[in-house]
């Protein structure tokens, strides 16, 4: 390479922490192949290491649906707008199981990839993103089961079904934002890891998984939609079963997701410079 060529290269500036702010999207894009390979690695390992591999991805939604169906169609009955209860629950579990698994995996992603963070430079956001994307693979199985169950119950899809992927993407954004936030906090604060399983349980109960949003009185529904999963699950259900969309709820939840993304980016950017030193 000639001197002129080197001269023409834009130099990399290395400066103390805090001097660089903002999200470098161009750089993130330049590293997209690393994101791809790390995601691929996580998927391969998940299905190679766990003896039951694929079975786990199938059993989890099936068993959870069965348990909820037994409990709630025996003791408590919810108004599910003529949707068979197993279908009602499974449609939400598809979203929930993806979100909770990917958040759990992403929150531990830096601890599990400590050797990468301390030895190589790359945009740190790739680590929780890869963990989130790898969890998306499980979704294939739960969606397959959902389709089988829909066929079994004779659900006739409407054109609204075309919007279903939108809600899956919303769930992905939500999971990525939350997972990223927790991944940063987990590096620094060792108690986050222990608080997470319990928090997720509370969140599950606080989301319209085994009961419908309509169970709440009208005036509380919008406040309830601050829980971003409310709009995602409710919207996903509406698109599957051709029910009317509750746009205010979807709107409030989407707003929540945007706020969560912003918080996540700010916290992450403030903490990432120290990862290699404290991990």
């Amino acid at each position: 390479m000639s001197s002129e060529e080197i001269e023409s290269i834009k130099p990399i500036h290395i400066e103390p922490r805090g001097s660089r702010v903002g999200l470098d999207l161009r750089e993130l894009w330049a590293y997209r192949e690393l994101l791809y390979f790390l995601t691929l690695r996580d998927i391969k390992i998940r299905y190679k290491q766990t003896a039951i591999g694929v079975a786990w991805a199938v059993l989890q939604p099936v068993v959870t649906t069965a348990i909820f169906t037994v409990i709630f169609s025996t003791w408590a009955r919810f108004e599910t707008a003529d949707i068979a209860y197993p279908l009602f629950v499974l449609s939400a579990l598809v979203i929930w199981l993806f979100a909770s698994t990917s958040i759990t995996v992403a929150s531990n992603s830096f601890v599990n990839n400590a050797n990468l963070v301390t030895k190589v430079y790359f945009p740190r956001l790739i680590v929780p993103f890869a963990a989130t994307l790898a969890s998306l693979f499980d979704l294939i199985f739960s969606v397959a089961i959902l389709i089988i169950l829909m066929v079994y119950y004779g659900v006739v899809p409407t054109t609204q079904l075309l919007l279903a992927p939108v809600f899956i993407i919303l769930a992905l954004v939500l999971a990525a934002a939350f997972g990223t936030l927790l991944s940063a906090l987990t590096v620094r604060y060792r108690d986050v890891k222990f608080a997470l399983p319990f928090s997720l349980q509370v969140w599950m109960i606080a989301s319209p998984i085994f009961y419908p949003v309509s169970m709440l009185s009208e005036k509380w529904r919008l406040a309830y939609a601050i829980n971003p999963l409310t709009g995602v699950i409710d919207g996903f259900r509406s698109s599957l079963f051709g029910l009317p969309f509750n746009w205010p709820i979807i709107g409030v939840s989407s707003g929540s997701i945007i706020v969560l993304c912003l918080i996540s980016i700010v916290v992450f950017k403030r903490m990432e410079d120290d990862f290699a030193d404290i991990i």
């Binding site: 080197i6 990399i12 290395i14 400066e15 103390p16 790390l38 290491q49 190589v120 604060y189 410079d273």
Partner: protein
Amino acid sequence: MQVIKVEHLSKQYAIGGTTHNTLRDAVGGFFRRNSAPSLQIFNALDGINFTVSEGETLGIIGSNGAGKSTLLKILSRITKPTSGSAEIRGRVGSLLEVGTGFHNELSGRENIYLNGAILGMKRSEIESKFAEIVEFSEIEKFLDTPVKHYSSGMYMRLAFSIAAHLEPEVLIVDEVLAVGDASFQKKCLGKMREVGEKGRTVIFVSHDMNAITRLCDRVIWLKDGTIRMDDEAKKVVGAYLHEQANLGAERTWEDGDSAPGNEYARLRSLRVCDENGESIQTADIRRPVGIEMIYQVLKAGKVMVPNLHFFDESGTCIFASHDWDSKWRTEPRTVGRFTSTVWIPGNFLSEGSIFVGVAVTTYEPLEVHFVEWDAVTFNVIDSLDGDSARGDYAGLMPGVVRPVLRWENE
């Protein structure tokens, strides 16, 4: 043309004291304003300045804790400086460890792609060099076998082959040649030299003074976070070795936390002794010399092999010795304090200063719990009594070892 420009670069680490390690404390601390944690500040790098020109191969030497790793980490953008700045023109490839991101469950082929991407190679680049990488690594037959079934030699060869095919404008290499068999090391050094000749800029850290003098045009000697010397390779290496010769033959690490080691094992002390167990600084060439290391195993469950490396004044490794004798060769260690002593027979070492590197290693899978180069040094002297290998000859005797051998005459 300057490719790297480093200005007033400093890095401080807080040691001891408490930062908030739990979210609970952090939230609590936010409300209790006057809970200033007491931190000790350690200057890993203290205002260093230098520039590197295009095509230059720069060596960095210095004892452990001098700031070499910190400097490489900052230039590789893994960690940020506390103050000062650096500017680099071109793509930086850093090789601070061989096989970063390798996954045991994945095959050699899968790891080539993964590791290549981690090191910053594009997929198309990996694909075009794939055959070359495989050939260089000599593992063709095992390409689709998970690397967990590889021997550590194969693992290292594959890992280094990938790294050797990285073609950044600036290559940063840390002490990675200390692994692998001699012929492969040579091959790697050759590959690195090629990199240097292609007009790429290389920064190379090593304890192998031979490799440093062979590969580098210029050497920076770091000491306590500052630049002690920055000059032509031979000059700096000579000055460094001269100073190292006065290291001392006995060392103890009082503070358990800063002693070399990790969560599994830490070094406590190392000394040179004679047959009676007395500490010595100077050994008689005819008498056996013992090197006694004391280390603490903090976590049970790993098979640990203590090992020692011996270097002469020119930085040539005379030999290495691993403890394959004790029952611990196959048995996982229990928690506790261990003492291992190796005996070098009399009439074996050559005269002069001997530098000892000490390590405790787990071999399958490879993990170095600690390694301390130039940990102690001692002198071997020949008092010329006529019964050493010299006999009655008092002139120059070449050779890294000096055995007394049996001669037969007809």
